[in-house]
C-alpha cells in the first residue's frame, strides 16, 4: 500500500525532532536514576523499541484505515479503563495500571489516542458546516466518558489533556467566535467551583502552589526544589550527571514528571532552550501536517494530536517552572513511562501518515 511517490514527503524534520526529544529524555533518565542502578533506563529503551515499531506499522497503512478502527479501539479502551478500575491495585494513589508481567501499561494513554480518532471520525461524518448543539453535546460525550473513568481512577493528571483536545476540535469546526467566548467565560467562572470538587490532597497542591513557602518541607517541597534545580543550572548547567538536586533525590519524581528539571539543572539554560525548540519544531510540523492534510479526517487527527502533545508539554513545563500546581502530568517523549512513550509515538506516526498522504499541491 505504501506508494513510492509518497516517500519524499516523509517528514524527516518531525521524525528527527522526535528522536532528539526521546534521546534527550533517555540521557536525563540515566542521569537521574543511575545512582539507583540503571534498570529504568533499559526498560525505557525497550519501550522505545516497542514504540518505534508501532510507529512504523502505523505509518505504513493509510490513516483512513486506522480511523475506521476508531470505534472498536475507543470501546476497547473504555472497557480496559473499567477493568483497571475494578482490579488494579493502587500505585501512588492512582488505580490506573494494567499489569502485563514486568511491563505495566496505563490504558489512559491509549484512550487519549482513541478519543482523537473518534472525534475526528465524528467531525468527518458530519457533512455540514458548523456544529449544532446536539453535535457539540456528542463531542463532549465522546470526550467525557474516558475522562470520567480516568477520574474514577484518581488520576487527575491524565485527564488534563482531554479538555484542550475538545476545545481544539470545537474551535476548528467553525464555531462562532462569539459563542466560543461565552463558553470560555462560563469555563473561567467554573474554575473556583471546581476547587471544591477536588480531593483534599489536590486542594493542598493548589494551596502550596499559591504559597510554596507555607510548607517548604511538605507539599511545597517539589515546587520549591524544582525551581532550585532549574535555577541552579545557570547557563551551561552542572554538566551531565553533575546535578545533585535530581540525583540526591531532593527532587522527587525526577525521572518522570520532573525530568526537565534534571535537564535544566545539568545542561543549564542552553539545554532547556534546546528542549523548548525541539518541542516547538515538533508542534509546528504537526500543525503543518494539519494544514496540508487531504481531508477533514487527516486535519482533525493531526490537530487532535497537536492538542494532546501541546497541552501536556505546556502544563508539564509550567509545573517545572513553578507557574502551575503539581498535576502529575508527564512530559511527552522525555519522561519515563512506557505507555506514554508508545502512545505518543503512535500519535506522531499518525501525523507522519497524514503528512505523507497529503494533497499534491
Amino acid at each position: 500500500m505504501l506508494e513510492k511517490r509518497l516517500n519524499p514527503r516523509f517528514d524527516w524534520t518531525l521524525m528527527l525532532s522526535t528522536l532528539l526529544a526521546t534521546g534527550l529524555g533517555l540521557l536525563m533518565l540515566y542521569s537521574a536514576t543511575h545512582l539507583q542502578g540503571g534498570a529504568l533506563f533499559w526498560r525505557q529503551l525497550a519501550w522505545l523499541g516497542v514504540g518505534l515499531t508501532a510507529m512504523l506499522v502505523v505509518v505504513m497503512v493509510d490513516y483512513r484505515f486506522w480511523a475506521s478502527l476508531a470505534l472498536p479501539a475507543y470501546i476497547g479502551c473504555c472497557l480496559l479503563l473499567v477493568y483497571v478500575l475494578v482490579t488494579a491495585r493502587a500505585i501512588s494513589g492512582a488505580r490506573s495500571w494494567l499489569e502485563l508481567g514486568a511491563f505495566n501499561f496505563q490504558p489512559a494513554e491509549m484512550a487519549k489516542l482513541a478519543t482523537v480518532l473518534m472525534l475526528a471520525r465524528y467531525v468527518e461524518e458530519k457533512k455540514g458546516f458548523g456544529l449544532s448543539g446536539m453535535s457539540l453535546l456528542t463531542l463532549a460525550g465522546i470526550t467525557g466518558i474516558p475522562v470520567m473513568l480516568i477520574l474514577a481512577q484518581n488520576d487527575l493528571g491524565s485527564t488534563l489533556a482531554f479538555a484542550p483536545l475538545l476545545f481544539v476540535v470545537i474551535v476548528l469546526s467553525g464555531i462562532r467566535w462569539k459563542a466560543l467566548m461565552v463558553m470560555g467565560l462560563v469555563g473561567i467562572l467554573m474554575i473556583p467551583a471546581t476547587f471544591f470538587l477536588l480531593k483534599p490532597y489536590q486542594q493542598e497542591r493548589v494551596r502550596t502552589f499559591m504559597d510554596p513557602m507555607s510548607d517548604p518541607q511538605g507539599a511545597g517541597w517539589q515546587v520549591l526544589q524544582s525551581r532550585i534545580a532549574v535555577g541552579s543550572g545557570g547557563l551551561w548547567g552542572k554538566g551531565l550527571f553533575g546535578g545533585w538536586q535530581g540525583q540526591l533525590s531532593f527532587l522527587p519524581e525526577s525521572h518522570t514528571d520532573f525530568i526537565l528539571s534534571v535537564l535544566a539543572e545539568e545542561l543549564g539554560f542552553a539545554g532547556a532552550a534546546c528542549a523548548l525548540i525541539v518541542y516547538f519544531v515538533i508542534l509546528s510540523r504537526i500543525v503543518a501536517a494539519a494544514r496540508s492534510a487531504r481531508d477533514r479526517l487527516g486535519a482533525y487527527i493531526a490537530m487532535g494530536v497537536a492538542a494532546i502533545i501541546g497541552s501536556q508539554v505546556l502544563i508539564n513545563i509550567g509545573v517545572i517552572l513553578g507557574l502551575m500546581p503539581t498535576t502529575g502530568i508527564t512530559l511527552p517523549l522525555m519522561s519515563y513511562g512506557g505507555s506514554s512513550l508508545v502512545s505518543t509515538l503512535i500519535a506522531l506516526g499518525l501525523v507522519l501518515n497524514v503528512r505523507m498522504r497529503c494533497l499534491v499541491n
Binding site: S173, I228, G231, L235, W244, L248, L276, V287, A299, L321
Partner: protein
C-alpha cells in the same frame, strides 16, 4: 477520479467556511506565545537569578554536622579512672518520615523500654522542625539497637545513632564531689561567654564535672558532608575540623582510700573528709547516702529523679561541705587554743568539776554526774569535761571565741573547688541582734563553750581545723584537683603559738591512746590523735541511754583528728548521723581508713603531680572514650 475531485471541492469549501487555516494559526500562535514565555522564564530563573538558586542548591546539599568532643576522664591521684565515657546507642525518630507516629511509638515503647506516654512527651517537647530527628531512646541496649537496625525497612523514619555517654565505673562512689552531667540548661546557654556550647550539649551540672567543665568539655569539631533529601550522608567532604578531646582532670583523691571509706560507712548516714593537712589535698571524701551519677548521664528518667528528690535522707545533698552540724565536744580543742593564747589558762591551771556548776545564774551540767574533781586542760580534753570548758568560755567571752574560731577557718567557706558550700555559723552578739533583734545572753556563751548552741560546722571545716592543729597553724585551701594547692591568708604562728597547739595535740593523742573516748581509732605505732563529739538532736538525750531514744532523735556522732601526732600526714572529720556516741560509731571508721592509709599504702602521697603523669593518664586505654 471524479469522486475524488468532488471530494476535494467540498473539502476546500469546508476549510474556507470554517476558517480552518486561520483558526489553526490562532491556536499555533497561542502555543508559540506560551513556549516563548517559558523560554523567558527559564532565562530569568537560570541566568538572572542563577547565582541565588545555585546558593540554595549548595545549602541543600552540604550540611555541617557538629561532632561533639569526647569529655575528658577524671582520674584519681594515681591515675586510676573514676569517670570516663562509654559508647551508647540512640534511637532517633524523624516525624516527617513517619506516617503514624502514635502507632510507631506504641510499637517501639517495649523495645526501647520506656513507657509509651513518656515517648509521646519526648516528641511533644521537641521544638525542632519536623525534618530534624528527635531522640526518643537515648541509651538502648545493643540488642534493642540491632533489633531496630535489622527492621529498618519496616520502620521508616527510625534510625540508630552512636553516641557517647558519661560513665562512672564506680557508680555511687564519690558521687557528691564528682557531680553529674546533663543537658545544658537555658540559663547556662544564655550566660556562657564564648558561645561554644549549643542546645542539647552535655555539660557538667554539679560537683567537679561543673567546676572543671571547661577543661573536661574539649572543643567540638565539625564534619562537612553531602546529604540527600532524607538527610542520609552520601559523601564526606574535606575541610572539616576534628574535635579536640577534653583534658583529663587528675584528682587528689586516692581511689583505694575512698573505697575503704565508703565501705567502712556501711549503710550509715553521714559524711567524712580525709585531707592532707600540709597541702589541703583531699584524699577521700564521702557523703551518705550517695546517688548514682550514671542515672543523669542517661537521658532523664523521671522516676529516678523523683526518687532522689523525695528521699527523706536527701541523697543529692553533699553533707561533707553543704551540711553544717552542731560540733559538740569536737569544738573543745578550738576553745582550748583560744584560752591558752589569751592567757586565761595555762596547761597547769586547775578547775574543779563537781558534776555541775552555776554560770551567769543558770546551772550547767557535766556528762560525768559525779564530777571529774580537780582537772587540768589535757585531762579535760581527754575526758571531755564540760565544767572545765564552761569556766574557760565564761572567762573568754563570745567575742574572743568567735575571733579564734574564725581564724581557724570556721564560720566561712573554705573555698574548696566544688559548689555550693555552706559557711556554717559562728554566733556573735551582732549576729543575734541582726537575726531577731535580741541581745546576746552570757549564758549562751556557756553553751557555745562545749559546742552546743547556735554553732554549726561542716565536716570539711572540722577536718581543716584538725589539720590546722596538726600542722602548727598552717592554713591551706582544701581542693580536689591535683596541683591546685594554695595557702589561704597568712601563716598564723603569731596568732596561735606552736606551744598552745602542742598542748592540744598531746591531749588529742591521749584521747585515743591513753584510755580516752577515742580508743577505737588507735593504730599501733601511728600515734593517732582525735576528739570525739556528740551533737545533740534532742535536748533530753543526755539523760537517756541510746536504745531508749528513737533513732531519728539520737545524737549525731563525731570523730575528728589527725595522724601521726608529730609530722601529721592526714587529718579527718567523720560524722555519723544519729550514731550516738562518737567514740563508738565514728572512731572505728577512722581506724579502718587510717589503717588502709598507713598499712597498705606503698609510697608517700605526692605533694604535686608532675605534668608527665597527667599526660600519661590521658593516653591510658581506659580513657579512650
Amino acid at each position: 477520479m471524479k469522486t475524488d475531485f468532488r471530494h476535494r471541492i467540498e473539502y476546500k469549501e469546508y476549510m474556507e467556511t470554517t476558517q480552518f487555516s486561520a483558526r489553526i494559526t490562532v491556536l499555533a500562535a497561542f502555543w508559540a506565545v506560551i513556549l516563548c514565555s517559558y523560554l523567558f522564564m527559564f532565562y530569568y530563573l537560570q541566568i538572572v537569578r542563577g547565582a541565588h538558586f545555585a546558593e540554595l542548591a549548595e545549602a541543600n546539599r552540604i550540611r555541617r554536622v557538629s561532632v561533639p568532643a569526647p569529655r575528658g576522664p577524671i582520674l584519681d591521684r594515681n591515675g586510676l579512672v573514676i569517670a570516663r565515657n562509654r559508647p551508647a546507642f540512640e534511637v532517633l525518630l524523624t516525624r516527617e518520615k513517619v506516617r503514624d507516629v502514635e502507632s510507631m511509638l506504641r510499637n517501639l515503647a517495649p523495645v526501647i523500654g520506656v513507657p509509651e506516654a513518656e515517648l509521646k512527651e519526648r516528641i511533644a517537647r521537641s521544638t525542632t522542625p519536623a525534618y530534624e530527628p528527635v531522640v526518643i531512646g537515648s541509651d538502648v541496649s545493643l540488642a534493642a539497637a540491632s533489633f531496630i537496625e535489622s527492621r529498618r525497612a519496616d520502620l521508616p523514619g527510625i534510625a540508630i545513632r552512636m553516641s557517647v555517654k558519661r560513665f562512672y565505673p564506680e557508680a555511687t562512689l564519690g558521687s557528691h564531689f564528682l557531680g553529674h552531667v546533663g543537658e545544658i540548661t537555658r540559663r547556662m546557654l544564655e550566660q556562657q561567654k564564648e558561645g561554644e556550647l549549643r542546645q542539647g550539649d552535655i555539660v557538667g551540672r554539679s560537683g567537679l564535672e561543673k567546676t572543671y567543665g571547661a577543661d573536661l568539655q574539649g572543643r567540638r569539631g565539625e564534619r562537612q558532608v553531602v546529604v540527600n533529601s532524607g538527610g542520609r550522608v552520601m559523601e564526606e567532604l574535606a575541610g572539616g575540623v576534628p574535635p579536640v578531646p577534653g583534658a583529663a582532670v587528675q584528682l587528689t583523691i586516692d581511689l583505694n582510700l575512698q573505697r575503704e571509706l565508703e565501705a567502712a560507712f556501711e549503710n550509715r548516714v553521714g559524711a567524712a573528709v580525709f585531707i592532707d593537712p600540709r597541702t589541703g589535698a583531699i584524699l577521700a571524701m564521702t557523703s551518705r547516702p550517695g546517688f548514682d551519677p550514671n542515672f543523669f548521664a542517661r537521658r532523664f528518667n523521671r522516676m529516678v529523679w523523683k526518687g532522689l528528690v523525695d528521699d527523706p535522707l536527701d541523697p543529692m545533698q553533699n553533707r561533707a561541705v553543704q551540711s553544717a552540724y552542731s560540733p559538740g565536744s569536737t569544738f573543745k580543742p578550738v576553745m582550748a587554743a583560744a584560752a591558752l593564747e589569751e592567757g586565761i589558762v595555762t596547761e597547769s591551771t586547775v578547775f574543779n568539776c563537781a558534776g555541775a556548776g552555776s554560770f551567769h545564774g543558770r546551772v550547767f551540767r557535766c556528762h560525768e554526774r559525779g564530777g571529774h574533781g580537780p582537772i587540768r586542760m589535757k585531762e579535760a580534753i581527754k575526758k571531755s569535761c564540760n565544767i572545765y570548758f564552761y569556766n574557760v568560755g565564761s572567762r573568754l567571752g563570745i567575742d574572743s571565741i568567735a575571733r579564734y574560731a574564725r581564724h581557724m577557718g570556721l564560720g566561712q567557706t573554705t573555698g574548696i573547688d566544688i559548689e555550693p558550700e555552706s559557711p556554717g555559723l559562728i554566733p556573735s552578739p551582732e549576729w543575734k541582734l541582726s537575726l531577731n533583734g535580741e541581745r546576746w545572753y552570757p549564758s549562751e556563751t556557756i553553751s557555745v563553750s562545749i559546742g552546743q548552741g547556735p554553732l554549726s560546722i561542716t565536716p570539711l571545716q572540722m577536718a581543716m581545723v584538725q589539720g590546722f592543729i596538726a600542722t602548727n597553724g598552717l592554713r591551706v585551701k582544701p581542693h580536689l584537683r591535683a596541683g591546685a594547692e594554695a595557702l589561704t591568708g597568712d601563716q598564723s604562728y603569731e596568732v596561735i603559738s606552736r606551744r598552745s597547739l602542742q598542748v592540744i595535740r598531746e591531749a588529742e593523742w591521749a584521747v585515743v591512746n591513753d584510755h580516752g573516748t577515742g580508743w577505737r581509732a588507735a593504730i599501733e605505732g601511728k600515734d593517732v590523735c582525735g576528739k570525739t563529739g556528740t551533737a545533740q538532736v534532742y535536748a533530753g538525750s543526755a539523760d537517756l541511754e541510746d536504745d531508749e531514744i528513737p533513732e531519728a532523735m539520737r545524737d549525731h556522732a563525731w570523730f575528728v583528728g589527725f595522724a601521726p601526732r608529730d609530722d601529721a600526714r592526714i587529718a579527718f572529720a567523720i560524722i555519723v548521723e544519729h550514731g550516738g556516741h562518737g567514740g563508738e560509731a565514728a572512731a572505728p571508721i577512722a581506724q579502718r581508713v587510717l589503717d588502709k592509709f598507713f598499712g597498705t599504702k606503698k609510697k608517700e602521697p605526692q605533694e604535686e603531680v608532675p605534668e608527665g603523669q597527667v599526660a600519661h593518664a590521658r593516653e591510658a586505654p581506659e580513657s579512650a572514650f
